[in-house]
């Protein structure tokens, strides 16, 4: 998280299942890398691919 002029940016990781295409978003955890596969899909036997890592600014 970074601070500038009282603006706090929270980092999120967005994932997509390579099989059922379900989308998931969670807070960034150390070791997350875009296009890596950190975990399996909870809905099917597919793998969750990290598609985006981004910050959302909250004033």
């Amino acid at each position: 998280m970074s601070k500038s002029k009282n603006r706090i940016s929270t980092c999120y990781t967005s994932m997509e299942c390579d099989s059922c295409k379900i989308l998931k978003k969670r807070k960034f955890s150390n070791g997350d890398i875009v296009f890596s596969i950190p975990e399996g899909c909870s809905e099917c036997d597919g793998k969750m691919l990290i598609t985006k890592i981004f910050g959302v600014i909250m004033d």
């Binding site: 970074s2 875009v34 890592i53």
Partner: protein, 371 residues
């Protein structure tokens, strides 16, 4: 002598013009002789506040950097002293009185500096991965740049004060808002680099990295990878910095390697670009020419190779502010990836025919973005 107020008022009443003249002339005299000094005091107070902020940013990023090193890396001895000496390293640019051949000299100088820092850092820590090494190089660059900003602004400020020279402080007064904008961006870039998170500048490598998924990646140059895929009966050569390292790679050298394998009919470069005031963040723009920033050596190389081979270069850029470019990637910028990819495919369709080949280069720092 006793001052009689009643007598003074009576005199004033008789000659009010004299008093008014005195009231008007005094400030004029003050401004004629001391105007510049007054302006200097007002301007310098503002600049002094900003210099204070720059000092604070330098100290806090330095502390952050040393804490990161101590907490995350195994050093053979206390690294603080040696790292401290790196903060003051400077680079003497080549003589430009005769500009002939200056690009290769700058290229040699910059690469020698990078090699030296890389070697020194590697020697200080045991089991240092290439990702950590690249992160350390980026963090060091942030601290060094902030220190340079602080020292140079302070120098200009103190010189103007010492010489009591108002015109000397004017250029600084004009430049300080831009310096501060960049300094704040550099300070705010620290957390993303430390955590290995993608930054706004990484949008180009992110798009090309996605296109590389499922292909065989090969080394194109130092910290640079390439792969081959197809799109609507066209060969696509993809080139980007090797992620998830905090590096921009060497796209110029990569292009040279790909051309030695097969000459593409078109080069398309995807990069982040500084937005103009009033432009929207994450807006997309298309254009001509090599879309690549930096000191200019990579751009020169790409332009030189494509000109020699008669290959047109098109550019696709995602607009963003300097703060957005070097800090954690915003949602808007990350979301623009799909639109940029659609634009890219449209560009390929419009500018090439079936059977031709295209080289797509994702330019930017690929920290936190694999392929």
């Amino acid at each position: 002598m006793d001052f009689n107020f009643d007598e003074f008022l009576a005199w004033v009443g008789e000659d009010i013009d004299t008093l008014m003249m005195l009231i008007w002339i005094l400030p004029v005299i003050i401004f004629v002789f001391y105007g510049q000094r007054i302006q200097l005091i007002i301007s310098s107070n503002e600049i002094k506040k900003d210099i204070g902020k720059l000092e604070e940013y330098t100290a806090s990023t330095k502390k952050d950097f040393l804490n990161y090193v101590k907490n995350n890396l195994n050093s053979k001895s206390d690294p603080s002293k040696k790292l401290d000496s790196f903060f003051d390293y400077f680079t003497i640019m080549p003589v430009d009185m005769d500009p002939n051949g200056i690009i290769s000299k700058i290229n040699h100088l910059v690469r020698s500096r990078e090699d030296f820092i890389r070697l020194q850092i590697t020697g200080m820590f045991s089991n240092l991965s290439s990702i950590e090494l690249s992160k350390l190089q980026n963090l060091l660059e942030i601290v060094t740049t902030l220190q340079l900003f602080y020292k140079h602004t302070r120098h200009l400020y103190l010189t103007a004060k010492k010489q009591k020279n108002f015109p000397l402080i004017l250029p600084l007064q004009m430049m300080i808002p831009f310096i501060m904008e960049e300094a704040v961006a550099l300070k705010d870039a620290m957390p993303a680099i430390k955590n290995g998170q993608p930054i706004g500048d990484g949008i180009g490598p992110m798009i090309v990295g996605q296109m590389m998924l499922g292909t065989t990646k090969e080394s194109a140059a130092f910290e640079t990878v390439w792969s081959k895929t197809t799109f609507e009966d066209r060969d696509l050569f993809l080139l980007k910095a090797k992620g998830p390292n905090a590096t921009v790679g060497r796209p110029g050298d990569g292009l040279e390697k790909i051309i030695s394998i097969k000459k593409p009919d078109l080069v398309i470069m995807i990069d982040a670009s500084l937005k103009l005031e009033g432009e929207d963040s994450a807006s997309i723009a298309k254009g001509f020419g090599a879309a690549i920033g930096g000191i200019g050596t990579e751009r020169f190389k790409i332009e030189e190779i494509t000109t020699r081979n008669g290959i047109p270069i098109l550019a696709l850029v995602v607009k963003q502010s300097i703060h957005e470019a070097i800090t954690l990637m915003t949602k808007e910028i990350a979301d623009s990836a799909k639109t940029v990819k659609d634009e890219l495919y449209e560009m390929i369709r419009e500018n090439t025919t079936s059977g031709q080949s295209v080289l797509v280069i994702g330019v930017g720092n690929t920290i936190g973005v694999s392929q």
